[in-house]
Assembly symmetry: C2
Homo-oligomer: 511 residues x 2
């Protein structure tokens, strides 16, 4: 059994049984091993950023790492923007990066480059596997790292892949000891004080039992329960503990937070402005407020929240729960508010919302708080081109749930190739493209950074008109059925029909 097959069998034995792949010549032995290891599900993508975004979505929905297979340094380069997003979301991932055979590197062939150097800014763990006898053990280490919500980059030289290996190695089960931070007692005192306090949740604290316990703590102590503007995955909707979302822009965020004296953070850090603006602060808490970190990002907060609940004496009955609400279905012209109202009524039970809607969804999505229960995933790294790939990974992870990808038109075009993989794998993804035909967010930010009013040349750099893109034709060209919605009635009809289909589809929502 060669090194490549030893690697694939080690991955599968360690529970890493999905690979999002865009291979090249140097990865052919890995591809050949797929024929012999049926347990590995290998999914072809047309661009490497799809692979890593999909692995991010897969991790968020399963808490299990997927692998990716990338072609040398340029393949990794194409993958990096969505590795960045995954890293900021504490999504573990195991990237396998092909490399020339060790003895070929010194000749500086066209594809030769510094893969380790390239991987460093976005990886927690990097290793070039020295030879075919070492690869199985290196894979064990990579599995362990990626299970711990970390980015593992395992570089696989050609000779390591094709020479005789050891066969698979077993990865020990790792049950990390629950960590309770020293800040629990301090946070409990703050929460029981009479001062205004806010508890901000991130990561796994926004799901399941952890969220429920956080709700009890908030109900008992009168703390506001909040999320950052962006969260990796929130379980929300009717029956769940509701949370307040801290605003995106600096001025409303400062206003919203100005009275709080205590910030209790759970799997997140104190709120920070997304961008810097002239004469505006980076930190959003008021002067003199205290931060109590109960659990850092990437750790599992459940034990800490249980300890905190005990310390403040919170009971099950203290937790508030969201009621099912809806304002009814709108008609006529499509607006951001109308889209949110339609989603509030029509989001199917247990849906997964992947939100890269930026301006269109940004301020109105709160209307969906009382929709049927659903998961809501957002971009934690700010690198555009997140939605289609992450939705792809969610579809692979959860074939029995409907994935709804809210997508800006500008954002969609960074990784539009992902639609093809959705068609090929017949994934249950409905993409809504919000076609405002602009980088609309930049029009807002232009004034926000003090650049004044754009003249015609600056305005042209934020416009997606001339030519207008036809997302219906584009989607169909990659095998994904699509329609255009120009009124609320169109949108409601299309959405109802499409979420009932088994495979992927797309609605171009003209704004």
């Amino acid at each position: 059994m060669n090194g490549a097959e030893s690697l694939v069998r080690t991955l599968v034995a360690g529970g890493v049984d999905v690979c999002f792949t865009n291979p090249g010549t140097s990865e052919m032995h890995f591809v050949a091993a797929l024929d012999r290891v049926e347990e590995m599900r290998s999914i072809l993508v047309l661009f490497e950023g799809i692979a890593t975004g999909a692995a991010d979505g897969y991790f968020r929905m399963t808490d299990k790492p997927a692998s990716t297979l990338l072609h040398l340094a340029p393949g990794l380069a194409n993958a990096q923007a969505n590795i960045h997003n995954a890293k900021k979301a504490s999504s573990g991932m195991l990237n396998i990066i092909g490399e020339h055979a060790s003895w070929h590197l010194k000749h500086d062939a066209p594809l030769t480059a510094d893969i380790e150097g390239l991987a460093r800014p976005f990886s927690h763990w990097i290793k070039t596997s020295a030879n075919s006898k070492a690869i199985a053990q290196d894979a064990v280490r990579a599995i362990q790292e990626s299970r711990k919500s970390r980015i593992a980059s395992l570089i696989l030289p050609g000779d390591t892949a094709w020479e005789e290996g050891t066969g698979p190695a077993a990865t020990p089960d790792s049950t990390p000891a629950p960590r309770t931070s020293g800040a629990v007692e301090q946070a409990a005192r703050a929460l029981m004080s009479n001062e205004k306090k806010i508890m901000i949740l991130g990561g796994r604290a926004l799901r399941g039992k952890a969220l429920e316990i956080a709700g009890r703590i908030a109900g008992k102590t009168g703390a506001v329960l909040a999320t950052q503007f962006f969260s990796s995955r929130v379980e929300r909707g009717a029956g769940r503990v509701p949370t307040y979302r801290i605003p995106y822009f600096v001025d409303p965020a400062l206003a919203a937070l100005k009275d709080f004296r205590h910030f209790v953070t759970v799997e997140t850090r104190e709120p920070v402005s997304f961008f810097a603006y002239p004469n505006k602060p980076s930190l959003l808490k008021p002067e003199g407020a205290q931060v109590h970190e109960v659990c850092p990002p990437g750790d599992d907060s459940l034990a800490a929240l249980e300890a905190l609940a005990e310390a403040v004496g919170a009971k099950a009955s203290d937790a508030p729960h969201q009621e099912r609400t809806s304002d009814g279905l709108p008609s006529g012209k499509i607006t951001p508010q109308a889209i949110a109202q339609i989603l509030a009524v029509l989001i199917p039970e247990n849906a997964i919302i992947v939100d890269e809607s930026l301006t269109t969804g940004r301020e109105s999505i709160g209307v969906t708080a009382g929709a049927s229960p659903h998961d809501w995933l957002q971009n934690m790294g700010g690198s555009i081109g997140f939605g289609i790939p992450v939705a792809t990974g969610c579809g692979v992870a959860c074939p029995d749930r409907r994935v709804i990808n809210l997508e800006g038109d500008g954002s969609a075009m960074y990784t539009i190739q992902g639609l093809w993989t959705q068609a090929r794998e017949q994934l249950p993804v409905t993409t809504m493209i919000f076609a405002n035909r602009a980088y609309q967010i930049l029009r807002t930010e232009f004034a926000g950074v003090g650049a004044g009013a754009p003249g015609p040349r600056a305005a042209a750099m934020m416009s997606l008109e001339n030519p207008t893109m036809d997302f219906v034709a584009m989607s169909r060209s990659m095998g994904v059925p699509a329609v255009r919605a120009e009124t609320c009635e169109d949108l409601i009809r299309a959405f109802k029909a499409y979420i009932a289909e088994p495979g992927p589809n797309l609605i171009e929502v003209v704004l």
Copy 2:
């Protein structure tokens, strides 16, 4: 005048008057400056890999650097694969990478990452501009670097952009002293010997006066005049000095080179296998053969070739010139050979061919050696997704010449968004998509690396069927007119019509 405007005016004054851009919030002051500096042509792209590929094409056709504007680390990440290709082609480029304001970095906002670390593997020169008073001088240095066929990465923090600057700085004209390598005499002796010798040209040695002089040297000495399999830009066709192309695969390359005792290299290095294969050598020259480097890659070889011509006593009349040849137009089924024959007849005078055709064009393009004179550009870095962006840059550089982009279907999908920019700028680009519906090259390489015959699961990773992509619909969806050709007659008709149009268009060539 703020730092951003000081930067833009310094660029323009230094001859860098094109910017391929995909900006974000942190770059809004640069965008605002475009309104005040009309001499800067700013071209919007939908994905950063288009920007850097376009800058590569622009440099190859003008010998002048273009600038790109990229959004923080993820924007640079998306741009890197085509920076890699440009670096391997010795194409200079000036990348401006936006960064958070200096005081915002410590808060680790979502888009924060190590930009310098990320830039390092593919940049020759990197600088984070410390403040708005320094940016104009930093830009001067970046211009000087990029003029020297180097990748310059200038990182622009928000406060450097928006605070008061110095106004523009002047970049001194740089006329690098012509370098004649010490190997000229040694090469001259080898060329005048009775042993078999080959002179391999790269870079600017494949154009204009340098190519002509190389032809004289070869004619005088009996050396074979050759190119690597991939070259950055070759002036070829009727009336030009013809060159022999060293084969891609190791076995035919070894066979072709086995009798040569002397390898004279000019702006390139000795031939190396593109990939490593089990039990095959990396170096393609026979044992005991000598290499004489007359000029390293990236340097200008003209002076060295002039010295060499004098040393061997070559005269103008010694140079061979290619005759106009053609086999006539084929009919019926479209094959790689038929495509090459059609191109041989129909390539318009002075066309620019951007070749990312891989399997379809790889072995048959030699048929076009006797076509009308044209420039032929290839991928020097091996990172796929090169063709559409580079053709875009050529169209910007040479609005009065026809650009013909020979593109594989798999390759096209990495950077398909470039078609939109071609439509927006109405660039004179005809794209031919060779739709064999496979990563055909991998089918060949699979056996080549000793992986045997692919089973169904491996084969699926190399197939682009299921679903079949409709490149006609995809192209039209981005504003580029398109037709499908299923026979030679279709292709001839479409090609004749399209190369006579002023704007972009696309032919899906079904194989």
